[in-house]
């Protein structure tokens, strides 16, 4: 709280609040140079430490291979998660099986940890409707309209409260999403309800071409927590141990009825998607700086210091991951056969008569109009 301050040329007596009144630090366990305080390291066993590493490799290989597929024309537009590995893996690793995860699309490995298969992620990006069925079976969903699914997350958390279910729900979303009205209403209402909800923001500094400074005049997303009376935190999102540890605490807080607004500070080192050219809006120095903070390399140096690196055969791991990816592509390629009925069948539990007759009309036209197939089946598929 400032007293008798000046702002520009304005003399102020009244106790104006500015964001300087709320210092926000960045929680970190392993620093940019790989140094860390052994006391702060979370209590995991060797296998778990290695798991975190392996998952980050999965995320990285996934991103690389998806882009390759896209370039080869075997995939529609895809986004890359390069740079976000620690943030995605650390947050996902803290979740339990029954927890819900409503994601924005960049959280592949977190969904895989919840039991989603890589094939289904591929189906999703190929626009095959069944993908979200398999996601839902693992309590996951991808919401494409930015921010709009956050109130749904609050509702799921509310449902957990009403039914005394000991789980949590997390919304994963980006810095852009925090400017939507849906974000605000969702977090505020979760606060009132004491819903077991974690609002997990991967602040990667950009929303397509819009930098964080143009997204909001606030210095952090975490500081918004005070405005909702929920717990907030800003974590180094390139430090997998800090993310994991803070997320574990977040999960406990949420279970106890304290919703959390979690900001993981990270960076998207590639384009927003394969249709985006990031050189239009940002310089290479910025990108290079962040590449130097690569979350995987940082964790490798931690593993080395802990004497765990010798347990890792990185090439074997990559090969294994690639083999999994190969198998997933094959399974995705084989997926089918599909039928137009599915486009109509799942809108309502029971198909209303008008919809049924529209379906029959479509089926009839597919049967009877020879050249219709040209327009439908032969057009290039994404």
């Amino acid at each position: 709280m400032t007293e008798n301050t000046t702002q520009g040329t304005v003399e102020l007596d009244a106790p104006w609040i500015t964001q300087n009144d709320l210092p926000v630090t960045k929680y970190q366990i392993i620093d940019e140079n790989g140094g860390y305080d052994a006391e702060a390291v979370p209590d995991l066993d060797t296998q778990e430490f290695l798991d975190l590493y392996r998952w980050m490799l999965v995320e990285k290989r996934y991103a690389e291979r998806m882009i390759n597929l896209q370039r080869r024309g075997e995939m529609g537009t895809v986004g890359s998660s390069r740079g976000h590995e620690a943030s995605i893996v650390g947050s996902g690793y803290a979740l339990a099986d029954d927890d819900y995860l409503l994601a924005m699309g960049r959280e592949t490995s977190a969904m895989l940890m919840k039991g989603v298969s890589l094939r289904d992620i591929l189906l999703f990006w190929r626009g095959i409707e069944d993908a979200q069925k398999y996601l839902a079976q693992q309590n996951c969903m991808i919401g494409i309209s930015v921010g709009g699914y956050l109130p749904v997350v609050t509702g799921i958390g509310w449902g957990m409260n009403i039914t005394d279910t000991d789980s949590v729900v997390t919304a994963h979303f980006g810095d852009g999403a925090t400017s939507t009205g849906a974000f605000h209403e969702a977090v505020n209402f979760a606060g009132v309800l004491n819903a077991p909800a974690i609002f997990y923001c991967q602040n990667n500094q950009w929303a397509i071409s819009t930098p964080f400074e143009k997204q909001t005049n606030a210095d952090s997303i975490a500081q918004r927590a005070v405005g909702y009376g929920v717990h907030g935190i800003r974590v180094d999102g390139n430090d997998v141990l800090a993310v994991y540890h803070a997320m574990s605490e977040a999960r406990e807080l949420a279970r106890q009825g304290n919703p959390v607004l979690f900001e993981a500070l990270t960076y998207r080192t590639e384009g927003h998607s394969t249709s985006d050219d990031p050189t239009k809006y940002r310089g290479s120095e910025e990108v290079d700086q962040w590449k130097d903070r690569d979350p995987i390399e940082r964790y490798e140096s931690f593993l080395e210091s802990e004497g765990l690196w010798e347990e890792v055969d990185k090439q074997a791991m990559v090969d294994e991951v690639d083999a999994e990816f190969d198998a997933a592509i094959e399974a995705a390629d084989d997926y089918g056969p599909r039928d137009v009925e599915e486009l109509f069948a799942y809108l309502y539990e029971e198909m209303p008569p008008e919809l049924e007759s529209q379906l029959h009309e479509l089926e009839r036209s597919l049967r009877e109009l020879d050249d219709l197939e040209e327009y439908i089946v032969r057009r290039p598929k994404g």
Binding site: Q132, L135, Y149, G159, Y346, Y348
Partner: protein, 323 residues
């Protein structure tokens, strides 16, 4: 004394909450005060404040929260205080409620009800009088139900709460307390998707719903035309069959609704008749509707509402039109 529509809403909610503990009721001012129209009166005392909840002033979170509850297996009944305050939540209806089942191929779904009073005539402020059912009914995956009588209100609301899919339940607030009839204490449903024939007749089919039913029946009662009067009850999915059968018989039709004419649901009714029974038509169908303007404020709102004389004139004109 026989029951009002408000009573019927209250009965339906109490009975469903009694029978199914997944049903939760929430919205602005619904718990402590029982809602600005008292439709939820007594529910909080009876079912407790876990199941009857006052929310913040957050229409997005109310509708989106309902989707989440429904996904999690509950049976949310949300209230939006006036339908003029539903547009802020339009995205939640379009983007989530209406397509949760579709998106997840049946794995998740959104069995939820959004109740909201709609329509003009209660001398309220701006944005308290609109009828936008046509826009909502155009959204695939959303059911839109509008009762016109106390009996139907109870049965349709119960059916809506039990429906496996999202229902927008628009309540004719203008007649909330002005129509009374005996509403049985029995557990009955009025099925979604079925229109009711309120009066059988041979000369003209008159189709309406909600608050305009009252005006329509009054108009018909004063005429010497033998009108068949259909209460649509469910806007979407629409009972095309009842409409088509009636127009086959009468060859003439008038549609009455309160919403603006252009792009209102009346046009879909006309299109349906065109699709199925055009060649039975002996005269153009007429629409008696609100105008393509915002509903006037309280001092002049009655100029907007399709009152019985306008309806009666249209029925007579259509009945006597040589084609």
């Amino acid at each position: 004394m026989p029951e009002t529509i408000i009573d019927a809403i209250n009965m339906a909610l109490s009975e469903e909450m009694e029978q199914d503990d997944r049903v939760v009721v929430f919205g602005e001012d619904v718990a402590e005060t029982g809602g600005v129209f008292r439709a939820t009166e007594g529910l909080k005392d009876r079912f407790g404040s876990t199941r009857v909840v006052d929310t913040p002033l957050s229409e997005i979170a109310i509708v989106g929260g309902a989707v989440g509850l429904a996904v999690f297996g509950l049976r949310p009944v949300a209230e939006i205080q006036f339908s003029g305050f539903l547009p802020p939540a339009f995205d939640q209806l379009v983007t989530h409620a209406s397509r949760m089942r579709w998106r997840t191929r049946g794995e998740w779904s959104a069995p939820m009800v959004v109740r909201t009073p709609y329509g003009a005539g209660i001398r309220a402020l701006e944005h308290h009088s609109e009828s936008l059912e046509g826009a909502y009914a155009h959204v695939p995956g959303l059911k839109v139900v509008i009762p016109s009588t106390p009996y139907d209100t109870k049965g349709l609301l119960k059916a809506s709460i039990r429906d496996p899919d999202p229902v927008l339940f628009m309540e004719p607030k203008h007649v909330y307390r002005s129509i009374r009839e005996d509403v049985p204490e029995d557990d009955y449903e009025v099925p979604i998707g079925d229109a009711a024939v309120r009066r059988e007749g041979e000369d003209v089919t008159v189709i309406s719903w909600g608050a305009m039913m009252q005006q329509t029946l009054e108009a018909v009662s004063k005429l010497h035309v033998d009108a068949e009067v259909i209460d649509l009850r469910t806007i979407s999915p629409m009972d095309r069959e009842t409409i088509v059968e009636s127009v086959k018989k009468t060859g003439r039709c008038v549609v009455v609704h309160e919403a603006p004419k252009s792009g209102g649901w009346g046009s879909e009714i006309i299109a349906t008749i065109n699709d199925e029974v055009l060649m039975y038509l002996e005269a153009p169908i007429e629409r008696v509707t609100g105008f393509d303007i915002p509903v006037p404020l309280l001092s002049m709102e009655d100029y907007y509402i399709p009152h019985p004389p306008r309806i009666a004139e249209a029925i007579e004109r259509v009945a006597s039109d040589g084609g």
